[in-house]
Amino acid sequence: MAWLLKKPTLVFLALFAATWLLAKYSSTWFESPSLAWAIDYPKTWVLPLKDYVSAAMKWLVEDAGFGLFSFTELTRAIAWLIEQPYEFVRAVLATGFFDGIGRRATQIVPPLSWIAVTAAVVALGHYAKSWGLAAIVGLAFLYLAVFGQWESAMVTLASVVIAVPFGVAGGLMLGILAYRHKSFEAVLKPVLDLMQTIPVFAYLVPILFMFGFGPVSALVATVIYAMPPMARITTMALKNVDPEIVDFGKMTGCTQRQMTWKILVPSALNGLMVGVNQVIMLSLNMVIIASMIGAGGLGFDVLASLRRLNIGGGFEAGIAIVILAVALDRLSQALAARSTEYSPPPREQGFVARHKRSVTVVVILGITMGLGLFIPALQTYPEAAELSTGAFWTNGVKYLNINYFDQFEAVKIFLLTNFLLPIKRFFLGIPWPWAIAMITLIGWKFGGWKLGAMNFAMALFIATTGMWEKAMITIYLCGASVVIASIIGIPIGIWAALSPRAGKVIGVAIDTLQTLPSFVYLIPVIMLFRIGDFTAMVAIVAYALVPAVRYAAHGVRHVSPDLIEAGVVSGCTKRQILFKIRLPLALPEILLGINQTIMLALSMLVITALVGTRDLGQEVYIALTKADTGRGLVAGLAIAFIAIMADRIISASARKAKTRYGID
């Protein structure tokens, strides 16, 4: 037996073969009462955890109190506090201020005119970087006006304007606390992991219970979703502050507060701004889900159009989200870069000369608002001059549907019978005790006994809460999609790295795909492929492709030039350089990309439940429509656990690969 342990690959091959055989022949176990339990987890063994969670939630909302006030009163007070600035910003940007209520209300102050808002972002672009950036953001906002997305875009912008400061401040506080106290960091880390892996749908119901129906709940959900990267980046950025600066602070006798706010945070500003940028982008990712619980804006337009099968309308609103995201992304990145530059103190000049941009914007605002009373086009972009690309998208999908459906169908049937269904049968066939043992063993092999124990506990949780079958369908669907996404994505990434020109085009395409809400292409995909697992897979691949491409490109591009030179000197062909030097050295990065692809695929599962799948995503979605807190959270936790297990195993093997190639 000893020689076997020296050849772990052989052992694992043998175990895989055993698993495969088990999966293939286990279907007969259903008939034998002594074995059926191993295939189909018995209902009587299910731990009613979801009922406990629902009961706890009910108690929290209905009975919990702190003496002077109840828990619900506390959360409603918080909701009120968030609502006030939101209502104000929304009125300023989108709706204007009203006197009276309802249909008979009259507008007393109109919202900022579209010209003034555009002028303001142009000025901001110029302030942050250059005329070039000013032109980009100006054109982006002009697009919103010309294509009739203005009012919705401003509602969305208002929610971003409110959600981002909360997300940044919350993330900053958590990050600083984690930096100061090691014990807090140890607690925070798994919490952040869960916040990033539990699907948003799973905690929408408790948020609705606590903060009431409406935009505030949407904002709270957005903040929870967007905050974790900020917290992580804060801790990391503070740790990376030059120790000499910290020593300097200690020598001058700073208090802890001075140390944090006068020395650490300013020194780490560059890193912190990356976090701010992340919060902005994630907030925009949330607009569709937020609009399901009352946020309105572009997200609602996407949803409403698709319910009417107005594919063009959905695309238009979706592209408006992309445009808004691009503008905010560029602006915040430029501001981040600027914040670390030294700017000379202004020379003594008059107020106007020192604030040229602000004054110009205020003047434009005054003129457009004043004249806007007489010439409405200056106030709101005239409807008659709006353009629409809607018909183009609708007809495009129709053309594909009518002329190419049979070809799509052929590809679909081929992949279904030769790829998807065998994988599905394999995963559903593995007896669950065996599967838990295998997952534990894999964890032990890659990450030692700790990872093994964690895997065991998490897999057991999934089985005992009665989620096993749905979890297996989840893993099958997600796994198949990740394989396809990697097969497509990694070569594209390598190509982007090797050819700068292709890299540019691919970069734009990837950015668009990442910010375009997945709902936009969900309905067209259903029309072309019909309801079923294949359709879900196509949608997941489209969404999860991005990191596979990005990380592969990054890894191949950043191989040390010395090593490549060494290859060239020793007479390698181009092919050899790629396969013998670049790819092996990029392997850890590529693995991390696959890791991210898995994370995105899992988060997309909840969305594909809208197509009609039978996995954990569907469980979460059903819980949402039934307002069942426990059911949603337990299924959400199961998804999170799958994500965390995959993440840990892949990270551990990426570390091993790094040590093997001596990169670290």
Partner: protein, 316 residues
């Protein structure tokens, strides 16, 4: 132009008349919160009700909420009024909420819901004998796709809608397989796609909805529903199985928070009095979803055309 002017004049006159008469009756200026869902008919229905209550002087607020999840809000009073609870899909949730004592059934909207298997007219050539359900016994294959062949493929609603289609197929000995759509939108995307190609399709359709106005088609005629047919296997065509009949048809209810009547008694009687019929609703839904008119315009037009009706409801 003249139409617009006369309309606004009429509106102003009505508002002036009512602001003296109606505002005096308003018991509380706290907002009455009406729930909005995601299908146009419900939005129109709710906004008409909201506009009427506004004319009566009440403070109205619209809130987005999920169809079933809203009951949690209705029970606590976070939400005040839901205008469309379908007997076909929401009866259970409504009965449960009413039994809790925190929600009241505020009567019928006057709309009648039909939910049943539905096919485009061109399918009649491939399956003669439709709309009678027995035709489906012989031509299931005409509705099949590569994944389900030789069985027919029936696209059902989201699993949360219930519907007992698997049981119905079994009981009526139909050679069909149910594929559940995840959402309403996915369901009608299947229809749109098949209709563009004139390809076979049979699916769950409900009215009032825009689909029957956009696509030519019919409901399958199953043996009529009865409660006994669902509960008692011996009743119906198949003596050994329940669900051997069609789906229930029934009213669309209004549901309100139990404290509604005490807080705004005048508004509550207007809500109870409010009725509208299927034809009106179908026309309005088609105007919005097919002709692209805005919901506000459609609601305002209805308010102008039906002033007698709604003034009677609020003066009760």
């Amino acid at each position: 132009m003249t139409n617009a002017i006369s309309r606004s004049l009429m509106g102003a006159a009505a508002a002036a008349m009512l602001s003296t008469a109606a505002t005096a009756q308003v018991e509380s200026m706290d907002p009455i919160k009406l729930t909005l869902h995601d299908w146009s008919g419900q939005l129109i229905n709710t906004q008409i009700m909201g506009s009427i209550l506004e004319e009566a002087g009440y403070n109205i607020q619209y809130v987005q909420a999920d169809y079933i999840a809203q009951f949690a809000g209705l029970k606590t009073g976070d939400l005040s009024l839901a205008m469309e609870i379908w007997a076909t899909t929401g009866q259970e949730a409504l009965d449960e909420a009413v039994a809790s004592g925190n929600v009241v059934n505020a009567g019928e909207t006057g709309l009648n819901a039909i939910e049943e298997w539905w096919y485009p007219l061109y399918m009649k050539e491939l399956c003669p004998g439709l709309p009678d359900w027995t035709a489906l016994q012989n031509c299931a294959e005409a509705f099949s796709t590569a994944e389900t062949a030789p069985k027919g493929r029936y696209v059902g609603g989201p699993v949360t809608w219930g519907g007992f289609d698997e049981e119905r197929i079994e009981a009526l000995n139909l050679d069909f397989e149910v594929v559940h759509a995840g959402t309403d939108a996915a369901l009608f995307a299947e229809l749109e796609s098949a209709y563009q190609r004139q390809a076979p399709v049979i699916l769950w359709v409900y009215v009032p909805h825009w689909a029957p106005a956009k696509y030519d088609g019919e409901f399958v005629e199953f043996p009529p529903y009865s409660a006994e047919c669902y509960n008692d296997p011996s009743v119906g065509i198949n003596p050994n199985a329940a669900y051997d009949c069609g789906k229930p048809r029934g009213p669309i209810w209004k549901a309100a928070w139990a404290g509604f009547e005490d807080k705004w008694p005048g508004a509550f009687s207007a809500v109870q009095a409010y009725t509208i019929n299927n034809d009106e609703m179908s026309a309005m839904v088609a105007a919005v979803d097919l002709d692209g008119e805005s919901i506000d315009d459609v609601v305002n037009a209805w308010m102008d055309d039906n002033e007698d009706r709604w003034t009677a409801w609020i003066s009760q």
